[in-house]
């Protein structure tokens, strides 16, 4: 028998409290992240069952989904949003849970602040009532999104029940071309696998394209795992990972750190371990990407044309519906298409590296007059870095403003909504109909492509600016 284990197996198996015959595994959760939108009903359930939070020190709360990104010091106008935030504050206080609310210096998007604070560590299991929890897989953790019933389970028992997913490995080796970013790598993979291609699987990303990436880049890739249907994605921890996590607030210190590091060095897939599915891609095939439709799988290289689809195929009508929504036609070139809005932000591309990439391209240029640009850092820490590195000055010199942290137009729950019919180049993760506001038309792209569009007002190849 093959006793070689994948990275995923090693972490999963070490967290199984009980195996149920013909049923799911009871999985222990090391870190639980919560926010205002998916937690209130879970706390209500807790109350109805007269339960307490079993390990309050393993749960961390932030306010992000629903928060405004300007004038955060003022009272929130929308009464429903205000109530949701208040409810989270009350619940966390009652149950003694750390809460970094609006305006707190550690506040930010849940998947940005977890790594920043050392809550995210290699070898851990991390869940959150948000599908992009997969982001934390960049550290070699098993991290995935859960529903509100499961949030309640974790609060009351620190466990959830899950069947073990199947395993997939995606290998990409070689060098990435100029202006080809981790976002492009992810959009490329999704365009090949489709939005359901990895459903039922947990993905390991392997090869030097991923190991050469910064931690921020790895987070972008793992973040987007969910968009191909995967429960999550992960990358084996290495020196870069340890460099990133050490000295952070919740990272083990001293002896504990040495012990932890020793364990982390065992966290890789054994040679000869078998995956249920494996894909290899060529780094040289990947170009800057844009999406043209209403799911993240509808992506092409920026210089491409909107492809035909076989009219015999069953999804023909969904495809046409999607193009109609976008106002595009088969055969259209994406280059040169009009852009009304630019959104730089979200847990996909709202980290410091994304702001660096964006400002490097816009420096020396002016923002196009016809473009409204929303630049929203993922956290206060990112915002401070933007200021400290002089990026803010550069951006302002080009006519941009930087807003306060939050999810913002990624899901448009606050007032940051793209108006109906308008086109937005967005560095976020979903181009679903209405995702960024009713009737909004989203083109997903990297911060580099977003920057080029912000300067020219149309889809532009950042390499040709």
């Amino acid at each position: 028998m093959n006793n070689k284990k994948t990275l995923f197996d090693k972490i999963w198996d070490s967290h199984v409290v009980r195996k149920i015959d013909n049923g799911p595994d009871v999985l222990f959760i090391d870190r639980h992240l919560i926010h205002e939108v998916t937690s209130p009903v879970a706390f209500l359930g807790l109350k109805n069952r007269r339960q307490n939070v079993m390990y309050p020190n393993l749960t961390f709360a932030t306010a992000d989904h629903n928060t405004p990104t300007i004038n955060q010091h003022l009272p929130i106008k929308d009464p429903l949003s205000a109530k949701q935030l208040q409810t989270l504050q009350d619940n966390t206080k009652k149950h003694d849970i750390v809460f970094w609310g609006l305006g707190h210096k550690k506040n930010g998007i849940v998947h940005v602040i977890g790594p920043e604070s050392g809550i995210t560590l290699p070898g851990t299991t991390i869940v959150c009532g948000d599908s992009h929890t997969s982001t934390h897989g960049a550290f070699g953790a098993i991290a995935f999104g859960i529903g509100t019933s499961e949030v309640e389970m974790v609060l009351s028992t620190q466990c959830i029940m899950q069947p073990k997913p199947k395993s997939m490995r995606i290998n990409i080796n070689g060098k990435l071309g100029d202006s080809v970013t981790p976002k492009d790598v992810a959009l490329y993979i999704i365009s090949k696998l489709s939005t359901s291609g990895a459903t039922g699987y947990f993905v390991e990303y392997s090869g030097n394209v991923f190991s050469d990436m910064s931690m921020e880049g790895r987070m972008t890739v793992c973040n987007l795992s969910i968009e191909m249907g995967a429960r999550g994605g992960l990358i084996a921890p290495d020196k870069k990972t340890i460099e990133y996590v050490k000295n952070r607030e919740y990272t083990p210190k001293g002896d504990n750190l040495s012990k932890a590091t020793k364990y982390w060095s065992t966290l890789h897939t054994d040679e000869g371990a078998v995956f249920d599915k494996e894909f290899d891609f060529n780094s040289s095939d990947i170009e800057p990407m844009v999406t043209f439709g209403t799911n993240p799988g509808m992506g092409i290289s920026i210089s491409g044309k909107i492809p035909k689809i076989d009219s015999e195929k069953r999804n023909y009508s969904s495809y046409s519906k999607s193009l109609k929504y976008m106002g595009y036609e088969i055969g259209d070139k994406m280059l040169g298409k009009k852009v009304d809005y630019v959104f730089l932000g979200s847990c996909t591309n709202g980290r410091i590296e994304d702001f660096r990439t964006f400002s490097k391209i816009t420096k020396g240029f002016r923002k196009a007059n016809n473009v409204i640009a929303w630049l929203v850092p993922g956290s206060h820490r990112v915002l401070n870095q933007i200021k400290n590195e002089g990026i803010l000055e550069d951006l302002e010199a080009s006519g941009f403003k930087v807003r306060e942290p939050g999810c913002s137009a990624c899901l448009a729950m606050n007032e940051d909504k793209i108006p109906p019919g308008k086109y937005v180049i967005s560095t976020s993760n979903r181009n679903f109909e209405g995702r960024q506001g009713p009737g909004a038309r989203t083109i997903l792209a990297s911060p580099a492509v977003a920057a080029a569009a912000a300067i020219t007002g149309k889809i532009t190849d950042p390499r040709k600016l």
């Binding site: 504990n256 932890a260 969904s318 009737g439």
Partner: protein, 198 residues
């Protein structure tokens, strides 16, 4: 939350013949501001059901009086996108007890099973047959037998089996949820937790 037990369901169905229906369509984010589970049914498929001035969109299937029932029949890859359980609450609270499709997104499926909506996955061909039958005769009944794990449709001899984890099946048939199970193993969890390094 307790839900109605599920054993055998015989009902007409509503055909939503669209692929890749994501959770933002099932319930748009702006309706996720509640702090209790109420009224989600009102905003099920909000932007497909209503125009921006809140009048009904006549061509959307939920607004078509010919179709009704406890079964939602949907195109391939249903429920992709966010983890919002609100999407399933909206479906359940609207009156659906079962969603039939030829493929489901993972988290969505899990959420369904946690709150008492049965996700039934069948082949593309059978799904097409069901769509055709309902569109021909909207009063056609679909039978979902959880005990034998079979779907059939009146007027067609073809039946199909569907998969469900035996543990989840037991739960659905009895209206149990996972929380009850976990609460009963707290001492075992405590022992386990004591050994975790950080």
């Amino acid at each position: 939350m307790p839900y109605e037990k599920f054993r055998i369901l015989e009902s007409t169905g509503v055909p939503l013949e669209i692929e890749n229906v994501d959770t933002d369509q099932i319930i748009p984010a702006r309706f996720l501001k509640a702090t209790e589970r109420i009224d989600f049914d009102k905003n099920l498929f909000r932007d497909w059901r209503y125009n921006q001035d809140n009048t009904l969109k006549k061509d959307f299937v939920l607004n078509n009086k010919n179709y009704s029932g406890k079964v939602l029949v949907a195109g391939k890859n249903f429920g992709s996108g966010s983890s919002r359980e609100h999407a399933v609450w909206a479906i359940y609270d609207y009156g659906f007890r079962c969603v039939i499709s030829s493929f489901f997104a993972d988290i969505f499926k899990n959420n369904c099973l946690n709150i008492g909506v049965l996700p039934v996955q069948i082949s593309d061909d059978f799904l097409q047959m069901i769509f055709n039958s309902i569109k021909n005769k909207p009063k056609t009944k679909i039978k979902i037998n959880l005990i034998t794990q079979e779907v059939s449709i009146f007027g067609i001899s073809h039946k199909e089996k569907f998969e469900i984890n035996p543990y989840k099946k037991e739960n659905m048939m009895n209206g149990f949820d996972d929380i009850d199970y976990l609460l009963n193993m707290k001492s075992e969890i405590k022992k386990f937790a004591a050994k975790r390094p950080y």
